[in-house]
């Protein structure tokens, strides 16, 4: 299922902008409809066991619910029981006892009411789905800003947005084995196409790149396959296996290893000149106004977990440790230095981060605090104008893949 959300607030926020959740998180927050339905059902079953009797109630929480939620649930159950004629009183020897345990399993919460009345012991259960957690607020002001523009349950390799000259917006989502296209007129979705891309024999960790063209045109690189799309009222896509091994990025193209998840090390320049270095996952070079005529400065994120700065020589001028596999260049208005974004050195089982580095001479100096992601950063590509970057990550809490735009704000 595709979940679409475009954040309306483009101000300096560093955490996810996502739809509001129906989650009870504090004593002041009303509980969700699902929770209320479950409590209604439990109250009805309790009433069937001890009709119209005053009962004592104790609540035990062995789930991940917080104290605020537990208090809310207790109050809501008391209210529901009152509707069925059961008044809650202090424990006494004569009164039936209701023991509510807030339990949890791998599907969600499981609320279990045990009713003891004399020698009788009855039980009722209600299952409740766990709502995705609300995003946390940014703890500290950061220069690096993230705006989530798309979330979905299926993997995203790359994404692009284009504004049509005649009005309307196109969204492209490159996924393993297909390209999805959504057309919007204002906020109304008018077209959704899902166009297959045959990338047989591809990588276990497929990578892809989208290069927007003119007025809805698009090029999609998936492994060694190149697909070219033209937009009229829908997208026509033509693919050619083997034609897309050289991925265009900035002033050069990089040769991709189709059955792997990295580039071979060959960088091809428009002049026909090419350079062979060690294989790498991603690369960054200064934006045009900072580049020398030969664009000889490159940082390559190698397969060994180290990033290397090349300045035109065969040997690296510097080696940077603890950088992740995803790096790119972002141009900010803050200063004139070359700024590189780098993901963290973790793997896909843990949260990740993106750190801005100022690169000058042979040093890379962290600038500001890292922007933390609730899961691995899977792709990081520069926008055409170098003023923003596209990042695809996976939220380990929700399991959703998130497409985001990163920009740098000056913290004057």
């Amino acid at each position: 299922m595709v979940l679409f959300w475009q954040a309306a607030d483009a101000s300096a926020r560093t955490s996810a902008s996502v739809p509001p959740q129906q989650t009870a998180t504090s004593p002041q927050t009303p509980i969700s409809v699902d929770w209320n339905n479950a409590l209604h059902s439990l109250a009805q079953k309790i009433s069937a066991d001890v009709p119209s009797l005053a009962v004592s109630l104790d609540v035990k929480n062995i789930s991940s619910l917080g104290p605020g939620d537990v208090a809310n649930i207790r109050q809501a159950l008391i209210a529901e029981m009152a509707l069925w004629g059961n008044r809650v009183i202090e424990p006494s020897a004569d009164a039936p006892q209701v023991h509510l345990t807030l339990s949890e399993n791998n599907l969600g919460y499981l609320w279990i009411a045990e009713v003891d009345h004399g020698d009788a012991h009855q039980m009722a259960m209600a299952s409740v789905a766990i709502a995705p957690p609300s995003p946390s607020s940014p703890a500290t002001p950061l220069l690096l800003q993230r705006k989530i523009v798309w979330q979905q349950s299926e993997p995203i390799l790359d994404f692009a947005q284009e504004t049509l000259t005649g009005g309307g917006t196109l969204w492209f989502l490159l996924q393993p084995g297909r390209l999805d296209v959504y057309a919007f007129a204002g906020e109304v979705q008018t077209v959704h196409q899902s166009l297959p891309i045959d990338a047989a024999g591809g990588s276990r960790d497929p990578r892809g790149l989208l290069v927007p063209g003119e007025n809805g045109g698009i090029q999609a690189y998936l492994g060694a396959t190149l697909c070219t799309g033209t937009w009229t009222t829908s997208l026509d896509l033509e693919c050619s296996a083997g034609a897309g091994q050289n991925w265009p990025l900035g002033a050069a193209s990089w040769t991709f290893e189709p059955s792997r998840n990295y580039f071979s090390g060959v960088t091809n320049f428009a002049s026909g000149f090419s350079v062979k270095r060690a294989p790498f996952y991603s690369a960054a070079s200064p934006p045009p106004e900072l580049a020398t005529a030969s664009s000889s400065r490159w940082i390559l994120a190698g397969l060994d977990g180290h990033a290397r700065l090349f300045t035109g020589m065969a040997e690296p001028a510097a080696v940077f440790s603890n950088w992740g596999s995803a790096i790119t260049t972002l141009r900010s208005a803050c200063d004139s230095s070359w700024q590189v974004l780098a993901s963290g050195a973790g793997d896909w089982t843990e949260p990740d981060s993106i750190q801005v580095y100022d690169v000058a001479e042979q040093r890379a100096t962290p600038a500001g605090q890292p922007l933390v992601f609730p899961g691995p950063v899977l792709a990081l590509w520069p926008a055409t104008d170098s003023k923003s970057a596209r990042v695809v990550s996976r939220n380990l809490s929700t399991g959703l893949y998130e497409a985001s735009i990163l920009t740098i704000a000056c913290n004057h």
Partner: protein, 351 residues
């Protein structure tokens, strides 16, 4: 690029058709076959999965090579070298010396392995160790015998001393994380009640508890249960069974220990798998629950089985794996899943 090879130390050279051998074979099959059926069998051509067999020295060494055309993409590592015939102690030493990248570690050894600096991956507790009464034996017909033994067992001692606190006492069949109802089953021992029940049984029968001769954990637990039973006045002895001979290995055995792996993350599916595995041995209702069965229905069936004392849950065990420092993206497999070795990669240790 430099070849990246995972080295695995695998189970001891146990007899064919033993549970350990079957489990190890299934893990290898999962790496070389492209498809796994719902019943756990494999389909397709061997070698068309993530890996193909490169070389095989039976009982000693198996080398798998990455399949470039693997469904879902080529594995990240180029090869897997599997060292066979490595006993638990050997596997631990292999890990400590950096001779292997991956090995299974018995639960009862995990604390020791952690103390030795081995990097551990511990799954959710997804395996049930249970005592099952054999349907054909007189003890299975006498509810007092079964309940008396159940009351006498000190599960906490099994977890604390034998398992070194790796695992959870089990009063029900399903672990808390899967069913959400495990807390409703008592795990406490009641030796006084056991004594009282035993006194009501005429003739004080002498009973035998069987365990898998190739499983040190089962042996330790069986011996502990016998001690508990004797403390409650019962006459139980432990007897090793040939694992390959099946449930009816000895006509003298009244009950036996069984290890039951969850084959599904769902409570309904896991319970169905347990009952299917137990039903050839014990006198229980193994009929399937409806697909729509909710938590309450699953709990009621579980309660019915446990209350019959034909099956006595003992402990829920996690799967423990030892990993070298270079292994990345390892995620402990869930119930019914195989080792995700096609998805891991090895970090190079030096620039």
């Amino acid at each position: 690029m430099e070849i990246q090879a995972i080295v695995i130390s695998l189970d001891p050279a146990v007899a064919d058709a033993s549970p350990q051998e079957a489990a190890a074979k299934a893990e290898v099959d999962a790496l070389i076959y492209p498809t796994r059926n719902a019943d756990g069998s494999f389909a397709g051509t061997p070698g068309s999965g993530a890996f193909r067999v490169d070389s095989f020295d039976p009982g000693k060494r198996l080398v798998l090579a990455a399949n470039n055309a693997a469904p879902g993409g080529r594995p990240f590592v180029d090869s897997i070298e599997i060292l066979m015939g490595r006993a638990a102690q050997d596997r631990l030493v292999d890990l400590e010396l950096g001779k292997t990248d991956f090995a299974e570690i018995p639960c009862e050894e995990s604390r020791k392995a952690g103390a030795a600096g081995v990097r551990l991956s511990v799954s959710q507790p997804d395996e049930l160790l249970a005592l099952v009464f054999l349907a054909a034996r007189p003890a299975a017909q006498d509810a007092h015998v079964r309940e008396a033994l159940a009351d006498s067992i000190d599960r906490a001692a099994i977890v604390n001393f034998i398992l070194q606190k790796t695992g959870e006492p089990a009063g029900g069949l399903l672990p808390q994380w899967a069913g959400g109802t495990a807390f409703l089953f008592s795990t406490a021992a009641d030796p006084a009640a056991a004594k009282e029940l035993w006194l009501q049984i005429p003739g004080s029968p002498r009973l035998v508890l069987g365990y898998d001769s190739g499983d040190p954990l089962q042996q330790s637990v069986a011996e502990r249960i016998v001690v508990n039973a004797r403390e409650a006045g019962m006459s139980w002895t432990a007897q090793a069974l040939n694992a390959t001979a099946g449930a009816q290995a000895s006509a003298d055995v009244d009950a036996r220990l069984m290890r039951l792996r969850m084959n599904s993350e769902s409570a309904r599916g896991a319970l169905a798998g347990f009952l299917q595995a137990i039903s050839p041995v014990a006198s229980i209702d193994a009929s399937a629950l409806a697909d729509s069965a909710g938590a309450e229905t699953v709990y009621n069936r579980e309660r019915e089985i446990v209350a019959s004392f034909q099956v006595i849950p003992l402990v829920h065990l996690p799967q423990v794996y030892g990993l070298s420092a270079q292994v990345r993206d390892w995620k402990a497999p869930g119930p019914g899943e195989s080792w995700p070795l096609a998805d891991v990669w090895l970090e190079e240790s030096a620039p």
